[in-house]
Amino acid sequence: MKYAFFLGCTVPVRAQNYELSARKVSEKLGIELIDIPEFRCCGYPVKSVDFRAHLVMSTMNLALAEKKGLNITTLCNACSVTMIEANEEIKHNSNLLNEVNKELKKYDLEYNGNVEVKHFARVLYEDYGIENIKKYITRPLDKYRFAAHYGCHFIRPSVVYSEFDDPEFPVSLDRLIEVTGAVSVDYPDKQLCCGGGILGIKEDVALALSHKKLAILKDIGIDGLISICPFCSVMYESNQKKIEKTYEEELGIPVIYYTQILGLAMGFSSEDMGLKLNRVKAKKLIEAFTNEK
């Protein structure tokens, strides 16, 4: 199993714990992640200003992977959906493919529609499979309760994800959490957006959205919110202090990347999984899985 590893903009700078745990887990599972140095922004930020610019940026990355004969896997929900949408548009519209290729020629690139883009969590669920992951679980996390946060772009719009999971009642991430031995709790507003898309537009509304979910989870009582998107984590974790201040409310909810808990269940230490880099410390996990005495 081999994929071109698309890091995007946010992961390599703001989610190194995610990247670290994903790389280590992959290696142990035998999933080869190939770095392509020329990969750049997926095009998500420019979709709002110029749809065609986003199409060309996405296709530039798709073309780079195609040249190496690889499918792409990403760690970010927005990178996934952006490149998947561009790919789908182009694949199902030969006129558009020709048009885009005319554009790409200017940059010495060519794309023939032969690349598939999948989020890493989807790769684990769909390509690798829960049963195969199970074989690597040496230390079940059966004392822990986690809440799955899918993030919007992991499963929506269903027009590009219909074969994967339900847009309103998804199960994939819950199953992935359960295979670690932990409980994946059900909770209200599970599909609520983190608000990340408008953080730069209207911060108070964006933070109100994040607060809403965090407040629900505080009432329920969990060991961590499980994220698979670096920007959802920015909202729930990096901004948690600010949210606590704004709402004069203590939250203290650890936000953990899925690959981090998977790694712990596979026998990695909390140091290996970069848990000290998480802003809201998952103290229970760090204490239980540390190497240090």
Partner: protein, 169 residues
């Protein structure tokens, strides 16, 4: 807000429908499922997808393009999933934003993002500092220089926005 018929621009809807994602605008029959599903609307009344769609169809170009609310969609796609008429509302909101940009109206947050992309070919800079931190963690270092192809794409497509930024400095 009263509607002044003389101020309506009946061509506006076609401008929006020409943009990718705007094609299904006229399929809307105004049921409001989008508004009821919108998490932003629940917090901020300013944002109301049904109202934006209605105003777009009516031709209230100025009001739609100049208001903050077109920028408030988080792109969660809930409205789009539930729309009984397949209006592709999230993509439609994007199409309206694209029209606004063509008219020279763009939220400063996007100018800042385009500027970052132009400087670093990424949203965030990866320099020596970031690479040192990455190496320490055992992560591979990444290219720090701009990507020539990416820079060309930026210049070919969003040059207007780049100039806009320079003009403000």
């Amino acid at each position: 807000m009263p509607i002044n018929i003389k101020e309506l621009n009946t061509k506006f809807k076609y401008e929006v429908m020409k943009e990718p994602g705007g094609e299904n605008l006229l399929k809307c029959f105004g049921c409001g499922t989008c508004t009821a599903s919108c998490p932003v609307r629940e917090i901020d009344e300013q944002f109301n997808p049904r109202k934006i769609i209605r105003m777009t169809i009516l031709g209230m170009k100025e009001v739609v393009l100049k208001s903050d609310f077109v920028w408030l969609c988080t792109a969660c796609y809930m409205c789009q999933e539930r729309c009984p008429q397949d209006v592709m509302i999230t993509e439609l909101m994007n199409a309206i934003k694209n029209v606004a940009v063509k008219e020279g109206i763009v939220h400063p947050s996007y100018i800042a993002q385009v500027d970052a992309l132009n400087q670093f070919s990424r949203l965030y800079e990866i320099g020596e500092f970031e690479n040192k931190k990455r190496s320490k963690l055992g992560l591979p270092t990444l290219e720090t220089k701009k990507n020539e192809t990416f820079v060309k794409i930026m210049n070919d497509y969003v040059a207007d926005l780049l100039n806009k930024d320079e003009g403000e400095e």
